[in-house]
């Protein structure tokens, strides 16, 4: 990496990381229950070692309910935006996105199978979601591979087919399920962070960080791939290996986020676009920027979701779509 790019990457990431940290702290102060601001900041600054005069309930609200949910929002947003950025670079298609390719629906089917057959055994959810995402990816890839190799157009078309097919599978499963479970499912399908599981949170965060790092380290290859697979190959990129890596990493990212929160839409599409529009299309900058920006975006969206009609709640997916769609149209018009 040359010095200018490196500096630009570091500056952009530092600014975004600072904004993310600020968002985590500020959004922790907002919720359906008002908390004393100064005491909360003091407790947050002590990393929960001191209550700073918060009552036991307030302390529990801050550290056991709000903060885990905000961290999960960050992990989910980071995962989806990174996966989106990875697909867009690999497929040289700005519309490539976990949802459009059917990867999210694959993960959703995997999670549903885990919920139906293993019920309360939480760790089966991300594993089956990853499996579902990977199967969907392979299905898309096989469907897309024509005589002339996988063209971006064919891939997107295959993705649409896999998406609609898996949507039907999801509808089918919900019809077969108990009425009592359907309501929570419709919420979950829209993307919902309120069921934050302490058991899955660390895993989701680790996968997000590792996935974003893995794709950032391959950003140079992805840059060359944007010239076309043939040229990238001639320039020494192991095209097949990079492709498999992106598919695996993205499946892992999408699988763990869908298992934890359902299908939060628009993040994988809007955030990488924003990153490229503001920082340029160099993947060495746009991938880590998308990861941090995605985390920021979902944290803010979820804060809106859990406060706007408090003490009732909305699913975060409704908010990301409400913010995401107009923002996207605005960006398209301006660009």
């Amino acid at each position: 990496m040359n010095r200018v790019t490196l500096r630009k990457t570091i500056v952009a990431c530092a600014v975004l990381a600072a904004a993310l940290l600020l968002a985590i702290v500020l959004m922790s102060l907002l919720g359906s229950e008002p908390l004393p601001v100064r005491a909360s900041l003091c407790a947050l600054a002590s990393f929960g070692t001191s209550t700073c005069g918060l009552t036991q309930d307030q302390f529990a609200i801050l550290f056991q309910i709000r903060l885990p949910r905000i961290l999960l929002a960050a992990a989910v947003g980071g995962s989806l935006a990174t996966a989106g950025a990875g697909y867009q670079a690999l497929l040289r298609n700005p519309l490539a996105e976990p949802y459009l390719l059917g990867i999210s629906n694959g993960a959703a089917v995997g999670t549903m199978i885990a919920l139906v057959f293993f019920g309360t055994i939480e760790w089966t959810r991300p594993i089956l979601a990853f499996g579902g995402a990977l199967v969907a990816t392979l299905a898309v890839y096989r469907l897309a591979r024509g005589r002339a190799g996988a063209t971006p157009e064919r891939l997107i078309l295959a993705g649409v087919i896999v998406t609609t097919f898996l949507s039907s599978v999801i509808v089918f499963v919900t019809v077969l399920m108990d009425a009592t479970k359907i309501r929570s499912f419709t919420f979950w399908l829209l993307g919902d962070l309120s069921g934050t599981s302490k058991a899955l949170l660390p895993l989701t965060i680790v996968i997000t960080v590792a996935g974003a790092l893995a794709l950032t380290l391959h950003a140079r290859s992805l840059n060359l791939l944007m010239l076309g697979e043939r040229d990238a190959f001639d320039l020494g990129v192991e095209v097949g290996r990079v492709r498999i890596l992106v598919f695996l990493v993205a499946s892992l990212l999408v699988g763990s986020s869908v298992a934890a929160s359902g299908s939060v839409g628009y993040v994988g599409l809007v955030v990488p676009h924003l990153a490229r529009l503001s920082l340029g299309s160099d993947n060495r900058i746009s991938i880590p920027a998308a990861a941090l920006g995605g985390a920021l975006f979902v944290i803010v969206a979820d804060t809106v979701a859990r406060t706007i009609i408090a003490p009732r709640e909305l699913p975060v997916g409704a908010i990301t779509a409400l913010i995401g769609a107009p923002l996207f149209i605005y960006l398209l018009k301006r660009a």
């Binding site: 229950e33 609200i61 009425a179 009592t180 009732r312 909305l314």
Partner: protein, 312 residues
């Protein structure tokens, strides 16, 4: 050749058209709806505020919700019930009746084929287009949507009236009222217990001001901490549930819910209710179905909230 072919084709076309016309005529002649509701009618206003025109003598009804099936049987009209949903599992005799889908996805064709005069729906299953289709077949649709125990009693009386069992329905309601009054008398002087009602845990749902359960909790000597939340079954904030510091948590579970909802949501594990062991599981079929068994649910709830009020 060409002319010959064309004339044969023309004849064939004419034949096809004639066949179509004959079939249409036959179909319209035997559309079941046209003959279902003839004769004298009366009007009753349902919970959706619609004035429903009903035949004076009703002997074929379909129920699209388990509580309505229970009411039809309780007023002694089980033998007139010709269709029910797959959720309608009580009383056991109900299971012998033809299924017409479930409450959320009722199936229009078998309903029409059963030629009912009235279809009872609860708002949970109320589907605009679906209702219109039934009315297009001249099948009356009667909507129930009780928001409190009085509303449930009204549903029982109205359904009784519709199926021609007014006296039995009134007797049933009178008995239910007596049991309700007995509960309310017993808990009258007891201090109110702050109750959180966990409809489901993941994600967290509770009961709001429009739910008949909120009324039930009040009558059982409790105060729902979410009694003022708009809506009937709102999705609720975890932190608000904890901040409300409920003294008791009620989990509807073990009936149709099976093993679902058997645990208190993680956010409430440190609430006074859990710390003091005041978490009560009550059969969800007695609390979630606004029918006669709701009073069973009321009695069970009052007993757990105020065990000392019911000497044993």
């Amino acid at each position: 050749m060409i002319y010959y072919g064309r004339s044969v084709r023309t004849h064939r076309n004419q034949f096809v058209w004639m066949a179509v016309v004959v079939c249409l005529a036959l179909l319209s002649a035997c559309t079941p709806g046209r003959t279902a509701n003839n004769g004298p009618t009366r009007e009753i206003t349902d919970d959706a505020g619609r004035r429903v025109s009903l035949p004076t003598k009703v002997d074929r009804v379909v129920s699209l919700a388990p509580n309505l099936t229970e009411i039809v049987f309780a007023v002694g009209a089980g033998n007139r019930l010709v269709g029910r949903t797959s959720y309608c599992d009580y009383p056991p005799e109900a299971k012998a009746i033809a299924e017409v889908g479930d409450t959320i996805h009722p199936n229009i064709e078998p309903i029409i084929a059963l030629k009912p005069q009235v279809v009872f729906v609860s708002t949970a299953s109320q589907l605009e287009a679906f209702t219109q289709q039934l009315q297009g077949q001249n099948i009356a649709v009667f909507v129930t949507d009780p928001h409190d125990l009085e509303g449930v009693f009204r549903s029982i009386e109205q359904i009784g009236e519709i199926v021609g069992e007014k006296d039995r329905a009134n007797q049933l309601v009178q008995k239910l009222r007596e049991r309700t009054n007995a509960v309310q008398q017993a808990v009258k002087l007891k201090p109110l217990v702050k109750v959180f009602y966990q409809t489901s845990g993941e994600p967290l749902y509770t009961v709001g001001r429009d739910s008949f359960v909120t009324d039930l909790i009040r009558r059982a000597g409790g105060a729902s901490v979410t009694a003022d939340v708009p809506g009937a079954w709102p999705k609720y904030s975890n932190e608000s549930a904890l901040a409300a510091r409920p003294d008791a948590i009620i989990l509807p579970t073990g009936g149709s819910m099976g093993a679902a909802n058997a645990n208190v949501v993680e956010a409430l594990r440190q609430s006074p209710a859990v710390l003091n062991g005041r978490v009560y599981k009550i059969n969800d079929d007695h609390l979630a179905r606004p029918g006669p068994r709701l009073v069973d649910g009321l009695e069970e709830m009052a007993r757990v909230l105020h065990p000392d009020a019911f000497g044993k």
